[in-house]
Structures are given as structure tokens and as C-alpha cells.
């Protein structure tokens, strides 16, 4: 068997593994076979030394199983005693859970209401500043025109009386 064939078979045998792990394991074997060949071991002998594909696949699956088994043992599911407590205690903990959720929801509501009210307070100020920036110069201009108009008409009036 050539190295290429071996790796192809191994890929097929490890199809249940996640893609990244499969790729990494295959490149690991590829590297070791290349190193063996580089040392002067013939290709087929080097592959035989690594072991048969089925052997390797079986070993990897059992190794992974023990690893996941240990993990599962750590975050094990509830024991029967705990399940009984859960069911018997349901009338107590379900309303409590609902109350807790309601409290959290109301806190959210308060936060949003505060934001909204702050915005509402801010709005008139914004409007006022906008109005003063635009309308105030217009008003002063208008009053200037008006005063100049009235003074000129008064002057005319006095001039007529004198005359």
C-alpha cells in the first residue's frame, strides 16, 4: 500500500471525527511516515510500522470515548434523588422563578423608561436652542429695521412741524 492510499483509507475510517481533528490527525500520520521514509525505511514497511487503518481508527475512537466519558462524568445528569426534589418542589420553585423573571423584566422596563424620560426632558432644550439660533438673529434684524423706520418717520414729522 502506498502512503497516499493509506491516508485515503484513514480519512474514510475517521469520517465520524470533526473535520479539523481528522485533518490534523491525518497530517500527523503523513509527517511520521515521511520521516520514516526519510530515515531509509521503505514506504510499505513504514506504513506497516504505523499500523493498519482499522487498528488506528479503533484506537482513536476508544481514546476519544474515554476522553468524552470523563467529561460526561464531570457534568453528569441529575440523579433520581435530585429529580424527585425537582418535581416535589415544583409548586414552590415555579412561582419563584416566575417572580424572579418578572423582577428582571421590570428592571429592564425601568431602565428603558429612564432613558425615554431623559430624552423627553432633553427635547425642549434642544428645540429652544434651535429656535434661539435661527429665530433670534431674525428678530433682532426685524427690530432694527422697525426702529430705524419709526425714528425716520418721527424725524419727518418733526421736520414738517418746524416747517
Amino acid at each position: 500500500m502506498s502512503k497516499k492510499e493509506f491516508l485515503k483509507n484513514l480519512k474514510g475510517a475517521l469520517s465520524t471525527l470533526p473535520r479539523s481533528e481528522r485533518k490534523e490527525r491525518i497530517s500527523f500520520y503523513s509527517e511520521i511516515i515521511d520521516d520514516k521514509i526519510e530515515e531509509g525505511i521503505p514506504e510499505d514497511a513504514a506504513i506497516k510500522e504505523v499500523g493498519s487503518v482499522s487498528e488506528i481508527a479503533a484506537k482513536i475512537t476508544t481514546e476519544n470515548k474515554t476522553a468524552t466519558g470523563e467529561k460526561a462524568a464531570k457534568n453528569r445528569s441529575l440523579t433520581t434523588g435530585e429529580k424527585v426534589v425537582m418535581i416535589v418542589g415544583a409548586p414552590l420553585w415555579i412561582p419563584l422563578a416566575i417572580a424572579a423573571l418578572a423582577v428582571i423584566f421590570s428592571l429592564y422596563l425601568i431602565a428603558y423608561a429612564m432613558l425615554l424620560s431623559l430624552w423627553a426632558v432633553e427635547l425642549p432644550f434642544l428645540l429652544i436652542s434651535l429656535i434661539s439660533k435661527v429665530l433670534f438673529p431674525a428678530c433682532t434684524a426685524a427690530s432694527k429695521i422697525l426702529t430705524s423706520f419709526t425714528t425716520s418717520s418721527f424725524k419727518k414729522l418733526f421736520a414738517r412741524r418746524k416747517g
Binding site: 490527525r25 500527523f28 500520520y29 509527517e31 515521511d34 520521516d35 481514546e63 476522553a67
Partner: protein
């Protein structure tokens, strides 16, 4: 042998194999072989575990037109070996005590 103990021994063996200088998969297996037989799949699992625990780092370099992964021990890895040595010294004194009692 206890699985936990054996795992610890394997981990320290691999760390010891890369302590002197960075090494790669095939060389690690060869260096360890006088002390114990280690299959490629076992070595892969140990290297992965040591990498996750940050006892070693992996660097891929080119070698003869192909890629080779080199494993480099971290200060934490060296610390792990030291810990092992201390533990073993303690174990040895216990062993000595136990065997002496048996002799009487």
C-alpha cells in the same frame, strides 16, 4: 497501573523528550522507545493535551519540501517536570519506608 498515574507519566515523558531542544512526532517516539513503546495515536493525544494545558507550543516549519510540526516546551512545561521530580522523590521515600517494614 492506575490510569491517572500512567497518563501523568506519559505527559512528563513527552515533555522530557522536548526539554533539551524542540522535537517532532517521529523523533519523540524514537527517543522515548527505550523507556516505553508509544503508538502514534497515543502520542497525538498526549501532545494535544499538553498543548491545551500550555505546557508546549507548536510551530510548523518546512522540511525537505514538506511541513513538519515542532514542539517547544514552555516555562510551565519545565515547571511540570520539576513538580514530577519532587513528587517522585516523595514517593521514593514512601517506597523505601514500605519495603523496609516488609523486610522485618
Amino acid at each position: 497501573m492506575d490510569i491517572q498515574l500512567k497518563r501523568g507519566l506519559l505527559d512528563v515523558c513527552v515533555l522530557a523528550a522536548i526539554r533539551g531542544e524542540d522535537s517532532y512526532g517521529y523523533k519523540i517516539i524514537k527517543d522515548i522507545s527505550p523507556c516505553m513503546e508509544m503508538s502514534e495515536s497515543t502520542l497525538y493525544t498526549i501532545l494535544k493535551r499538553l498543548e491545551i494545558a500550555r505546557f508546549l507550543t507548536v510551530k510548523t516549519t518546512e522540511h525537505n519540501g514538506r511541513l513538519r510540526k515542532y514542539y517547544h516546551i514552555t516555562p510551565a512545561g519545565i515547571e511540570r517536570i520539576k513538580e514530577f521530580e519532587e513528587d517522585w522523590r516523595e514517593m521514593l521515600s514512601i517506597y523505601n519506608f514500605v519495603t523496609r517494614e516488609n523486610g522485618k
